[in-house]
């Protein structure tokens, strides 16, 4: 039950005693203020006044009748010249600076003078929750009835809301992600429910240097990939850990993002030797290849990769349909003699083969590593 304004007016000592009680309990000021507002009402005392009395008592001055009328008007943050505001804001991290934007328009201008670069953003969405990290700061929104619950690691109490977890989660992320000049060095998206409404999830175009996307359908993957700023995006990693369908690589490769990236890592998409041509402009790539005729396909793979001018290295997860051991057939197809005693490294067979690119000083080094009965990993490095 909140106290009436009349009672508060007539009993100022009572309010100060409440503050003194919190100080004696050594409770931090913000927690004290929350308890105070919850108990006696939000309008009982403004935070600046509460803070004044809190610190009076904290420093041992227990005079409840102290007359503040003679005190000089205290300075506040907005009394600082802009150069000092900027110096103070410099010590806040990107998440805190983004929050400043919602405090006041003048402070927003100060916050916006800093480019907002996040190191790593991880977002996971499923049917029941949305959680992740913003520069290692964790957030978790869970479905609770028709509303949601927010957990933050720094807060001991969960925050409840009538809004659904997706709406709350998007609001939480929008504080940061929809900031002008926002950039992320790495964005990781795990969308584990294909039915979720993902409109307005990310600002478009989203400035990320590298992105990891784990979606359940090609539509979702293409939707999120297309939200990235293609000129900014350098590295793409697509994952099919829980996909219900094989990603349609032809659709993925129509996106500007894939065309303009410098390196890509793709899941199994049913690609065959000739499909490698789509990687011709990359410095680095990783993909899965499926072959039904290794002896024919491997020389073709080698010849295609030999034409890639920008290539530094690539990795093929090679899947052989026949009954043969993939690493042996792959090496044989390259003309490599299989050692009688195979070279064993970390309990796996490793075979290295060098191929001199015709009419060039460059060569390709193939390092084949046995993965399992049906796969081998082939790491190819261009040596200049």
């Amino acid at each position: 039950m909140e106290l009436s304004s009349d009672f508060i007016e007539k009993n100022q000592h009572f309010l100060k005693s409440c503050i003194l009680y919190e100080v004696l309990r050594k409770k931090p000021i913000m927690d004290s203020y929350r308890t105070f507002c919850d108990t006696v009402g939000k309008d009982a005392m403004e935070y600046p006044d509460f803070e004044f009395w809190y610190y009076q008592f904290y420093h041992g001055n227990r005079d409840l009748d102290y007359d503040r009328s003679a005190d000089p008007e205290p300075k506040t943050f907005v009394d600082m010249p802009v150069v000092l505001m900027t110096k103070i804001v410099e010590y806040l991290n990107p998440v805190e600076r983004a929050r400043l934007r919602y405090v006041n328009h003048a402070i927003k201008a100060v916050a916006d003078s800093f480019p907002l670069v996040m190191e790593k953003i991880e977002i996971v969405v499923n049917q029941f929750s949305m959680y992740g990290t913003l520069n290692k700061k964790r957030f978790e929104f869970f479905k609770k009835g028709s509303g949601s619950t927010l957990y933050e690691p720094m807060s001991s109490e969960a925050e409840e809301s009538d809004k659904c977890f997706m709406e709350k989660g998007i609001e939480h992320l929008a504080l940061m992600l929809k900031t002008p000049k926002f950039q992320a060095n790495h964005l990781s998206l795990n969308i584990l429910d294909e039915t979720l409404n993902l409109n307005d999830f990310l600002p478009i175009p989203f400035n990320a240097k590298s992105v990891f996307i784990n979606g359940r359908t090609t539509n979702q993957v293409v939707q999120f990939l297309s939200a990235m700023n293609p000129g900014h995006l350098e590295s793409i990693n697509l994952f099919d850990g829980v996909s219900r369908e094989t990603l349609n690589y032809k659709r993925v490769f129509k996106t500007d993002q894939i065309k303009q990236a410098k390196s890509v890592e793709l899941p199994f998409m049913g690609m065959k030797a000739d499909d490698l041509l789509i990687f011709s402009h990359y410095k680095n790539f990783k993909c899965h290849l499926k072959s039904e005729n290794t002896l024919e396909d491997v020389p073709r793979i080698r010849d295609i990769i030999a034409t890639f001018e920008k290539l530094q290295s690539c990795e093929l997860d090679y899947h052989c349909v026949s009954d043969c051991v993939p690493i042996r057939v792959f090496a044989m197809a390259l003309g490599e003699e299989i050692p009688i005693e195979s070279l064993i490294k970390d309990r796996h067979m490793v075979i290295i083969h060098r191929y001199q690119i015709p009419e060039s000083n460059e060569c390709l080094e193939f390092k084949m590593r046995e993965d399992n009965r049906y796969h081998c990993l082939v790491n190819i490095v261009k040596i200049r």
Partner: protein, 188 residues
């Protein structure tokens, strides 16, 4: 005008012992200067402690005051409250001739003092102390929501800002109208 003498005990020059460098270069007695704030309370501070302040250091470096001249001409800092100047003088004395540590935990926690301190330190150009103070102000809002930040730093909302601006315009308009009326009355 009242006066306090700060830092005299720590400022007394040490007696040379057996150090050969001391024997080669006789120590010059340390000079002292005097400063006062809005409350006119005068603080005696050694030139060594005052070196932290680029503003005061620049003022005293070419003065060559004698002790009497310095005492007779305290530097007035009317824009700085007495208790704030006291804090600054204490800090300068504590850190006289010492390398400044990466953190200073002795700064006031009460923000109304801290903001005054930031402004004073900025005016006096005490670089290290300004860094500590700005960090301390930033620490106040670590992990806080926009609403909490607004409360802690006492920042008005945009609506409050607009209302204050309107009020100020209204007041200015009334004052201008009053002055015009008074001028017209005088002319008659």
């Amino acid at each position: 005008m009242s006066s306090t003498e700060q830092g005299t005990s720590s400022a007394a020059p040490a007696e040379p012992t057996t150090a050969p460098e001391s024997a080669a270069a006789p120590e010059v007695p340390e000079s002292f200067y005097y400063v006062h704030g809005k409350d006119k309370v005068v603080h005696k501070v050694s030139a060594g402690a005052l070196q932290h302040s680029a503003l005061i250091h620049g003022m005293i470096s070419n003065l060559g005051y004698t002790e009497e001249q310095a005492k007779a001409n305290p530097f007035p800092f009317e824009n700085i409250d007495g208790d704030i100047l006291q804090m600054v003088v204490d800090w300068c004395n504590q850190h006289k001739g010492k390398p400044t540590p990466p953190e200073d935990t002795n700064l006031p926690k009460q923000k109304e003092k801290l903001f005054d301190l930031v402004l004073a330190v900025n005016y006096l150009e005490i670089k290290e102390l300004l860094t500590y103070c700005c960090k301390q102000v930033a620490m106040m809002v670590k992990g806080k929501s926009p609403e909490e930040i607004r409360e802690i730093w006492m920042i008005p909302t945009d609506a409050e800002d607009e209302a204050a601006e309107k009020e100020a315009k209204k007041r200015a308009g009334k004052e201008a109208a009053g002055e015009t009326a008074a001028a017209a009355g005088d002319a008659k």
